[in-house]
């Protein structure tokens, strides 16, 4: 097993080889040139950006046979022993596994002994954020004033976990994410040196996917080398990284744009059949939608992770897609993406999201409603007749009373963002003007307003459900205990106001028991239909429905 991973094999051995961190390497080189080497350094930055590497190169530069030099020779004994990790003067310490104070004490005990061959003793303490608080404190004095011959280099990905007293004793260098072009250039170098042919577009895909970490990029390259025999193409990269074929992304975005739920469901079904990773698909879809968004707003932008030949198609789709709907899709999908971290059934979540995006009827967020409005508008523009079944729409067209002047006293939320759907009508309305379905649809918003107003009572109100409109009153059904609490004139007024704010309707509100609801609905309906008492059979059925009663025996009244 003499084989070394690319990221180990191609670990930079000089400052100039270190990619994308010139602000650090330049400073260090100058410091060495001028003999101003500090006794304690702290290297921090994300994974795979060169912290450990820089620490080793620094150790070499200091201990090289040619004296402290910004360009270590990599030939002399000292340099070579550092490269293969056998140097006695450069000690690399894993702070994460030796985090206890005993282990740090042991380290400190050895510090007074001077170095053997080199000039300085360099302690590289990697993953330093994992030291315990006691360990950090044990280090403090030595770190502040170590003996002449000692240099500390601390490295960590999480500098905020390091004690401030440690931070202030070190020269701190922050390593940056390496830019994609820098990574690409380095990959090209490595690929050429290893004699590998690889498409440029493939390299840029890897570079983009590595997200600033060179080690990840080299890892991916290595895997590609062992995986493919001939020239490495971007198709190889897509399959290796498990990225989704852009064809699929275009198709699905089309489905979203069309609002075709059936096609979407079939699509997801097929994804699962074929064993696709739904989570990855959502992530790639988000990338794709982001590209669309980018193109809609910045026509000349260069979309990420997009092959040139697809650009035209991308702009085509971008023009076809409604910008606000696009925003809505992106929001919904990123919600799902975040949830999916904990979800057990990502497919189901995705399907629910699809439904939300396509139907949006259940979604009462502002985006959701805007999305619906835009869809309706474009349908009307396209010459479609308004939906006859949509009562709300009909009503808003048939009777739009003049805007009321007293709109100013409405809550700011209501007046600014939630323009009344139906205009403001004052006084009692007959049952037919107010549709219970409409109230149900706005109910979440009503509750939100109540929540802002009286958070303490919100949960009681939330337990209620708009049940029906009865004689121009909105009837809410509650469970027993909640009803008693809610039913005060103050609370009812609160609800009434909130309904008014959202819908512009001023309807009195009353409460009832949830169990009564079914009964009264039945009773009211029958009563309305024929003012006569129910026939006895219906009473029995009512009792059966409500209490689950069974007919045991029939006894005539005379017998009792």
């Amino acid at each position: 097993m003499a084989y070394l991973s690319l990221y180990r094999k191609w670990r930079p051995q000089t400052f100039d080889d270190i990619v994308g961190q010139s602000h650090i390497t330049q400073t260090l080189k100058n410091a060495i040139k001028r003999g101003r080497i500090s006794h304690a350094y702290l290297f921090c930055g994300p994974r795979g950006t060169g912290k450990t590497t820089t620490a080793r190169v620094l150790a070499k530069a200091i201990n090289c046979a040619e004296g402290p030099t910004p360009t270590p020779c990599n030939q002399c004994d000292s340099c070579r022993s550092i490269s293969d990790g056998s140097s006695i003067d450069v000690l690399e310490l894993d702070a994460a596994s030796n985090r206890r104070v005993e282990e740090i004490r042991e380290l400190l005990e050895r510090i007074p002994y001077s170095s053997t061959e080199g000039h300085k003793k360099v302690y590289i303490v990697d993953e330093v954020h994992m030291l315990t608080a006691e360990s950090f404190n044990t280090l403090l004095k030595t770190l502040e004033e170590p003996p002449e011959h000692v240099i500390f280099v601390l490295a960590t990905t999480e500098p905020y976990k390091v004690l401030p007293t440690i931070l202030s004793r070190c020269q701190r260098f922050d390593f940056r994410h390496i830019s994609a072009p820098d990574i690409e250039a380095r990959l090209r170098e490595v690929a050429d040196a290893e004699g590998i042919t690889i498409e440029t577009s493939a390299l840029s895909l890897i570079a983009y996917h590595a997200q600033g970490a060179l080690r990840d990029a080299l890892g991916a390259l290595e895997q590609l080398i062992s995986y493919s025999d001939e020239e490495i193409t971007s198709a190889n990269v897509i399959s290796l990284l498990g990225l989704t074929n852009s064809e699929l992304l275009f198709d699905f975005a089309d489905i979203l744009g069309r609002g075709d739920l059936a096609a979407g469901l079939l699509f997801i079904d097929e994804l699962t059949e074929k064993g696709f990773d739904i989570r990855q698909f959502i992530q790639d879809l988000l990338d794709h939608l982001r590209n669309l968004f980018l193109i809609q707003n910045v026509p000349n932008a260069k979309p990420t992770r997009m092959l040139d030949e697809l650009r035209e198609r991308l702009s085509g789709q971008a023009t076809a897609m409604n910008p606000r709907s696009l925003m809505f899709f992106i929001n919904t999908l990123s919600d799902i993406y975040n949830q999916s971290r904990w979800a057990t059934d990502i497919r189901l979540l995705f399907e629910i999201a699809l439904f939300k995006m396509v139907k949006a009827d259940t979604d009462v967020s502002i985006e959701g409603i805007l999305h619906r409005i835009e869809r309706l508008e474009s349908a009307i523009l396209a010459g479609a007749a308004p939906l006859a079944s949509d009562t709300v729409l009909q009503q808003s067209q048939s009777k739009i009373p003049p805007e009321n002047e007293d709109k100013k006293d409405l809550r700011s939320v209501g007046s600014k963002e939630q323009t009344p759907v139906m205009g403001t009508a004052v006084g009692t309305l007959d049952d037919r003007a107010v549709d219970i379905e409409m109230v149900r649809r706005i109910w979440t918003q009503v509750l939100n307003i109540v929540k802002g107003e009286k958070p303490s009572r919100y949960s009681f109100f939330a337990a209620g459900k708009p049940s029906r409109i009865d004689n121009g009153r909105l009837v809410l059904s509650f469970k027993k205990s909640d009803k008693d609490f809610v039913e005060s004139s103050e609370n009812l007024r609160l609800l009434q106001n909130a309904v008014k704010v959202v819908s512009g309707l001023d309807i009195p509100v009353t409460c009832e028991f949830a169990n009564d609801a079914v009964k009264t609905v039945a009773v009211v309906e029958h009563a309305a239909a024929e003012e006569t008492p129910l026939p006895p059979d219906d009473y029995i059925r009512l009792v059966q429905d409500t209490f689950g009663a069974k007919i045991v025996e029939e006894i005539s009244i005379d017998e009792i």
Binding site: M1, Y3, S5, R8, P46, R47, G48, G85, D94, A96, S97, R99, D126, E127, H129, M130, T157, A213, R215, D216, G219, E222, Q223, I225, S226, Y227, S239, L240, G242, L261, A262, L265, L266, D269, T272, E273, K274, G275, D277, R341, W342, A343, T344, D345, L348, L349, E351, I352, F355, K356, K359, D361, T362, I436, E437, V518, V521, E525, F547, G548
Partner: protein, 396 residues
């Protein structure tokens, strides 16, 4: 503590070599290609959903690395690995809830020892997402530059929960949910099922082979499905008292098969007692055994709950699918098409989705240590509410 591979609990034990792993062609091609080219990485990370063959693949890989003939499946080395007693192949998995720094320290000691017999020392770390902070960090340096001949295979179903510094040191291999068609073919060939039955078992398994097998072969599970579907079909006819009784029934439905497992555990303990005789079982071994039993029971229980919820989901998903696409062939519950059709007209799409969301919420709660009786009750109440409110407004 480093545990040697334990045998049992895995339905795939008898299929050893590469060919025995179904539905992971891409992943296996990648691994094989890089092993053959001699450019194998020293650290691998297998990522993919639960129960799709990651651990089995890791074992096969360990065997291939150690076998003279590249994984013959017959030699002493291969057979030791398959039985979990190879001295150079270790399995590390959470002790209790987490993999601790103690376990990592022991691993590090073990790394520096010379190989007993094998050519490669393989560490398989299962549930890598369950590392404690300290443990994960302690592994970093060993993971980056281990001594020659050491190979790490990390396994996880939840990439997000792993320290990015660990991920970046490993070569990632993506495992996918097993494609439905492949699983169906496997079930037909292996268990002689009819296509319909194999397809049903597959759809109910959420891509986990072990679950599909048990659906296909166990009569108890068939019975359970019948019961659950019967209840959810008629949920609007039940009152709340009845629903909480049903929740209780669900619960006992899950608990019943656990008794068998408990009997098995008791037997294991008494066998061990005999082996140690008068001295009694050493406490650390006893502790480890108890922890394993606990884990097995909670896993079994978890799967039982999930199964019931999956059945519920399949019901509502079928309704929406039929409603929107009108394609009967896509339905999971092929044997219930008539009943599903009836429901299609009674419920609106929004209602069905609300129900699905309610079930998914319950499913997410499973991950935490919640009272399942309550969770089931709440779920049923909520579904009941959605379904009945819809009905009453439908009749108006």
């Amino acid at each position: 503590m480093i545990q040697l591979l334990s045998v049992g609990g895995n339905a795939l034990e008898d299929n050893f070599l590469w060919s025995g792993i179904i539905g992971q062609k891409d992943a296996i091609d990648k691994i094989r290609a890089s092993l053959q080219s001699g450019e194998g990485s020293h650290a691998w990370l297998f990522v993919g959903p639960r129960g799709v063959g990651k651990r089995t693949t890791a074992k096969v890989m360990a065997a291939v690395l150690n076998c003279e003939e590249g994984g013959c499946g017959r030699c002493a080395s291969c057979s030791k690995i398959s039985r979990g007693i190879h001295p150079d192949v270790s399995l590390i998995e959470p002790e209790g809830n987490f993999i601790t720094i103690e376990q990592v320290r022991q691993l590090q000691q073990f790394i520096s020892l010379k190989n007993y017999e094998g050519r490669a020392k393989v560490f398989i770390i299962d549930e890598t997402d369950r590392f404690t902070q300290e443990a994960a960090n302690a592994l970093l340096k060993s993971l980056e530059e281990p001594p020659p001949g050491v190979v790490f295979i990390l396994i996880t179903a939840n990439l997000e929960a792993i320290l990015p510094t660990i991920v970046s040191r490993c070569r990632q291999v993506q495992f996918r949910s097993i494609a439905a068609q492949e699983m169906i073919v496997f079930l037909i060939n292996k268990y002689g099922l009819s296509y319909d039955k194999a397809s049903l078992a597959t759809k109910l398994s959420s891509g986990v082979l072990g679950t599909a097998i048990s659906f296909a072969t166990s009569a108890a599970k068939k019975e359970r499905r019948k019961k659950v579907l019967g209840i959810i079909r008629d949920i609007d006819r039940f009152d709340l008292a009845r629903l909480s009784f049903i929740a209780e029934e669900f619960l006992s439905e899950v608990k019943r098969p656990l008794d068998e497992l408990k009997v098995k555990h008791k037997k294991e303990v008494s066998e061990l007692k005999e082996q140690f005789g008068l001295k009694g079982i050493p406490s650390h071994i006893k502790k480890r055994l108890e922890q394993r039993h606990k884990r097995e029971i909670s896993r079994e229980e978890h799967q039982g709950f999930e199964e019931i919820l999956n059945i519920l989901i399949s019901w509502f998903r079928d309704i929406i699918l039929l409603k929107e696409t009108d394609r009967q062939d896509l339905l999971t519950n092929q044997d219930r098409i008539l009943e599903i059709k009836e429901r299609v007209d009674l419920l609106t799409g929004a209602d069905v989705y609300e129900c699905l969301q309610i079930i998914e919420e319950a499913k997410q709660l499973l991950r935490f240590n919640v009272n399942m009786q309550l969770t089931f009750e709440t779920m049923l109440f909520k579904i009941h509410e959605v379904v009945t409110v819809q009905n009453s407004s439908h009749f108006r």
